[in-house]
Symmetry: C2
Subunit: 329 residues, 2 copies
């Protein structure tokens, strides 16, 4: 048999090599599809999530949702990372310390006094009002650029009580997988949090792959003054409860078809109800903090969130049973 | 010479065919690159825009901007479509008519009375205050879903004074090309308008390819009530002048590197200044309404916008000279 010309052999090699590369990539993708949520136990909840995503992304299925309407919203505190204590609270304390070194005389005025004297009762008695007072006192009166630099420094240095790693180590690994899984299926993933806008934006991409413009949050007032954005000592939006649907509408203009919140402060009931009002098939997920060993055990006194979940047939996520691991390693 | 085996010939054909397909696509792309702005005259402004885009998208150039920071913001009224009269004003009149058929007794109360009696002086004397009064009276007190249906009907039926086609025929063809050109170069294009949020969102994709979540606008207050979003008769944000940078920060969290507004009401000076404060090389563009033949001729009494453009070295777009055609055909 005559020898095949060299150029033809080379061409064949090129074709075969590029084919094998593609096959390899496809195999890897197929392997990923087998378990998109490896840190989730193989419970009915996991099956329900996967079935929902399969159906709404299948063009021939009656539940199909066009890609531009695949909107997912996640609460942050207690839903994507631990909230005992709130990270934002730690930032406020960090700021109090910084501010007291510049203005030592402030130790005699509230809320600095309460922090300096470790007067927990002051905040417990005052509730949301004193928390807002603390946030305004520590998050405003500076330019937006100064604030961003301060948040960056905080995240790089913060020690979370009981955690051994950096801030990453209190984020939930299964939720990161869930967000990736949704994104891989064409969903646009937003954070919708009671935390403040620029504080969460300062870490949202690094921790969750969520860009700044996909963070919906509480916010102070801003003032544009001679090319500078100033942070004013006044609350503009407190993004909790009934404000969450309003903020979601203002930022996105569409109802989320996938919404995930947590029980603890009844803060996500309205968001989940709003999602359920979508014209599309939707999925509501409520994180239940029932894992005293690996995370925390805390329940609302009136069980408002769990009762709403039962009433409206939302999916309840048992941290204890549905998650193989809790934290990112 | 021996015949080359059939399978090798087939393989070669496959390779050659797929190559020729790619070459064809590349040629088409190259042709597009030759003139991305065909409705713009070949003036220094057009050259400046193209040079800017070339530089900031060239990885090896000192002006390179990473794709995630290529943010562009465009005003709408007078920047993307004509504003004599404001389309939003036409919608208000359309709503007055609808409301008066349901509540004929309202013809005796303001602002319905002034509209019913064609009392232009009422609005001219009252200025922004009466305009806001008219918007609140006609844009609120209904659910968000009802409002969206009404806006859809309006856009489908509106006749713009002097225009022969539908609403599309008062949008500027060169601006559509500019937005496409920016998008093709990795820019995320936002609208930042004094018009109201859901009114502009109702047409932003169809006219400009801008999705709902990329519309930054004035807004009424909303209330979430039993799964329904209600439109409350109160203004929340009047997105003009110094509020534009604030709203841009709230929605995007980054400074735009490309900002385009128009002279007429001095409404875009702050947005252009904010863009110029970016750490990246930025581009400011101010539309000058100096084309009395093809569009309108109007100038601010104090020339505030043009003076700012001169002071800060912004690019001024002469409708008369820089545009080959004005409107979309």
């Amino acid at each position: 048999m005559k020898k095949t010309p060299f150029y033809l052999v080379s061409l064949l090699w090129i074709v075969l090599l590029s084919c094998s590369k593609e096959v390899k990539q496809e195999t890897q993708q197929a392997e990923q599809v087998i378990d998109p949520l490896p840190s989730w136990n193989d419970t009915p909840l996991k099956k329900a999530i996967i079935a929902y995503v399969n159906n709404v992304t299948d063009f021939s299925h009656k539940d199909f949702i066009p890609v531009e309407d695949r909107i997912a919203t996640f609460d942050n505190d207690g839903t994507l990372w631990s909230e005992k204590p709130l990270v934002q609270e730690l930032y406020s304390l960090y700021r109090v310390e910084k501010l007291l070194t510049i203005h030592p005389e402030w130790k005699n005025k509230q809320p600095f006094k309460a922090v300096a004297e470790k007067d927990k009762a002051y905040f417990e008695k005052g509730g949301t009002k004193t928390l807002v007072e603390l946030v305004l006192a520590t998050h405003t009166g500076i330019t937006q650029d100064e604030f961003e630099a301060s948040v960056k420094d905080f995240y790089a240095t913060v020690k979370y009580p009981g955690a051994t790693g950096g801030i990453k180590s209190i984020t939930y690994q299964p939720q990161k997988e869930l967000m990736d899984y949704l994104r891989n299926n064409g969903f646009k993933v937003y954070i919708c949090t009671g935390g403040t806008l620029d504080f969460v934006r300062g870490i949202s991409m690094e921790l969750y792959g969520v860009p700044k413009e996909q963070v919906i949050a509480s916010s102070v007032k801003y003032k544009f003054d001679d090319s500078l954005l100033m942070r004013e000592p006044e609350l503009d939006v407190y993004n909790d409860k009934e404000m969450k649907p309003v903020s979601i509408h203002r930022v996105i203009g569409k109802k989320p078809v996938f919404a995930c919140g947590n029980e603890g402060g009844a803060g996500d009931i309205a968001m989940l109800k709003y999602s359920q009002a979508s014209d599309y098939p939707s999925f509501q997920l409520l994180v239940n903090h029932n894992d005293s060993i690996r995370e925390f055990y805390y329940q609302e006194k009136d069980s408002a969130s769990l009762k709403a979940a039962a009433q409206y047939q939302w999916n309840v996520l048992s941290m204890k049973d549905d998650w193989k691991v809790v934290y990112v390693k």
